[in-house]
Assembly symmetry: C2
Homo-oligomer: 226 residues x 2
């Protein structure tokens, strides 16, 4: 890639939203330094997906940071609570579900900030969306803006910008955008509770939102379902 | 301790500032859940000090979270840079030194936020001070307030308060306050570069600031120096 591309840190989970965000950062001309986390999630298959996504979309680097979120408990994604299945669409928008991981995006953004400061990157990308989402408080635009302010004050990155390019997009719009940028959604993984072979369950909140997005576009999700 | 004490998370490094902060949180009537980090610091002896401080000051719990800050590099506290010694006092207040760890307090506060949310604690204590300090941007009051705002918006803790009770205190005032609350500074460790036996160097910025504080009070620092 050209040497004059400014560096940016891109949070990359291996799901469809962060893959699309990485493609957007690349198209905007950034050298994208992808950052993923091994945080005790039961769906660690997403890290293998993140690796594939980072290389196919031309990330400048990809780091996986191991953090011990599971020791605090309090979430179905890291602790021994059941992942809810087949929730009706109306319920998805209602309240904070048990799959919420306390302060997860705050922690992810804090690490992204450290990485950005060392790289001298003034741009961080995160694929949160406040439209077809699971009701997590740390996906709201006012949180992203507040964290950006904290990041500017707490580092030497006074010009920091936190980009959340999907914040106003529904899943169908995200998919359409990503397809236009060449994202292969067949290698992304969104499921909260995949089987041992990595196939998605098709029934958790994340699968339902994703499948509905493809359906609204009249497309089939290319990812494997069990 | 009485069952009706509200929980608070207290960031505890094992140094004199965080020990004093823990004593202040206890005196204010909180059940103090202490949180320390193994982050690749070269002065890991402070974790043993944190353990002693937590138990002698009656913390309700003490957790040590391992995080991988060293992999980002960029600091003399985690990477292979030399810790500056014998810097003249005027220089200590000038610019961001190489011992600054990028975004460290942001990361520590993010974990404290996760811990607080799971505990249902609406109070977090951090022992930053903007008076006799090393010029780190993440010790400034405006950063603390901005992070508090982000924490309120990014979690279910709308009533969150981040207490920084030392923010306006010089080292001498911190020591006087702690002594009044029964803090044994002989078990705290502040040095950035202790010897193998855990004795302080007496010459890094942290030692210089600490020693000057005791000197201004006409007291001798009870911690061991090499």
């Amino acid at each position: 890639m050209p040497a004059d591309q400014p560096p940016a840190v891109v949070l990359l989970s291996g799901g469809m939203d962060s893959a699309t965000t990485l493609a957007i950062a690349r198209e905007a001309g950034f050298a994208a330094h992808a950052l993923s986390f091994r945080y005790g999630q039961r769906h660690a298959v997403e890290l293998a997906a993140a690796h594939t996504v980072a290389s196919t979309l031309g990330a400048a680097s990809h780091r996986i940071v191991t953090i011990d979120l599971g020791q605090f408990g309090g979430s179905a994604l890291t602790a021994d609570l059941a992942v809810p299945k087949d929730r009706p669409p109306a319920e998805l928008a209602d309240g904070v579900p048990v799959t919420y991981v306390p302060a997860r995006n705050t922690i992810f953004l804090a690490f992204a900030l450290a990485h950005a400061e060392v790289l001298g990157a003034r741009d961080i990308f995160i694929g949160v969306t406040a439209v077809d989402y699971s009701g997590y408080p740390d996906c709201r635009p006012e949180f992203i803006r507040a964290f950006e302010t904290a990041g500017r004050l707490g580092t030497r990155l006074a010009g920091l910008t936190i980009h959340a390019p999907l914040i106003d997009l529904g899943k169908d719009a995200i998919i359409a955008r990503g397809l236009a940028l060449g994202v292969d959604y067949g290698v992304t993984r969104s499921c909260y509770d995949p089987d041992a072979a990595g196939a998605a369950c098709g029934r958790c909140d994340a699968c339902q939102l994703r499948l509905a997005g493809f359906r609204r576009l009249g497309l089939e999700d290319p990812a494997p379902y069990g």
